[in-house]
Symmetry: C2
């Protein structure tokens, strides 16, 4: 991007595309060119879809999901089990669990993990609102589905402390061998966790 | 993308983003989420930039470049040497040469290379219009700057044949060692080409 070779409209498009995760300056140029070549099939529809999303998509004030309605379709879905809240770090994790169809419950998006080094404290995450939701009497279980990282586990422990005294069970996802995973490629931590949590065949 | 978990607006955005080169279904989801989170900094401006590009950018009817004006700013640039036309496969190559500032000449974008296996014949490329431009009397040199691939070289030879009989010289880019390149990592073809074309120090 050292020298501007295309017109300002195209340069602007390339600069913004380069900020999209997964694209860099070089691939943004390639993407912009592809979009311009596929004007009617891709560029126009994508511009419309982005405008639509910009105008209509927002963050759910209850759970932190992103959706076109507030509260979101998951929060207002009457067929869901309202006694269980799955706590996730990010909306991407919510989507992953929904794709897996793992549970028909409600969610709560933290918006990150506790990370003192990065200056992320409890007030920067949606923990207070989780405790409020958990206190309403209907909730019987909080499943903490954060990543199995140090920050994730620290956050999980902090949340567990905050929920103490409430009449509900706090659970976490099981550790173990990924389905389809080969033992040879797994780290020792996962293997010993899977061994400890072994179940009867 | 097996199961729709987000609203239709978001799903539509993800589906279209997945068609952008450099992004796949998984990274499109990540990109969509990032865009929605950075609504005002990224999603809105990108939607506008795409709309702008859609409304204003087109293909130059003279050289095949993409630009907001037709003929493009390069074709109408009075400071350029109008006696030299650089023939490239794609607009990306034109941009690359412009960034390099290699020459202050005109361009001609072929739109691909001859490839019988893919059903790309001479009529699918902008070869006829090149011969017309080359015949106008002003042009003294045609530099064929296609990729150094089999298809590129085949196309170069075909074009050279088409230009035969016209009073101009047809040249190609030099083969040799890339600047900053290490001999150890270069293929034999490049090395022997560089050896044959050696110059006096």
């Amino acid at each position: 991007m050292s020298k501007s070779v295309a017109g300002p409209e195209i340069e602007k498009l390339i600069q913004l595309l380069a900020k999209v995760p997964g694209l860099g300056p070089r691939s943004a140029r390639r993407a912009a060119l592809h979009l311009i070549k596929k004007k009617d099939q891709l560029l126009g529809p994508l511009a419309d879809a982005m405008r639509e999303a910009y105008d209509h998509v927002g963050v759910c004030s209850v759970c932190g999901n992103v959706d076109t309605s507030d509260p979101c379709t998951i929060c207002t879905d009457a067929r869901r089990d309202r006694s269980v809240i799955v706590v996730v770090e990010d909306v991407a994790d919510l989507w992953a669990l929904e794709r897996a169809g793992a549970l028909n419950a409600l969610y709560h998006v933290l918006g990150g993990t506790l990370s003192p080094l990065d200056g992320v404290g409890p007030d920067d995450l949606n923990i207070k609102s989780l405790v409020e939701r958990a206190s309403n009497g209907d909730v019987k279980e909080i499943i903490i589905a954060v990543n199995a990282t140090v920050e994730g586990q620290t956050t999980a422990h902090y949340i567990t402390d905050q929920l103490e005294g409430l009449d509900l069970s706090v659970t976490r996802l099981a550790h173990g061998v990924p389905v389809g995973g080969e033992l040879d490629y797994l780290d020792e931590g996962t293997l010993s966790a899977a061994m400890r949590a072994r179940t009867r065949l």
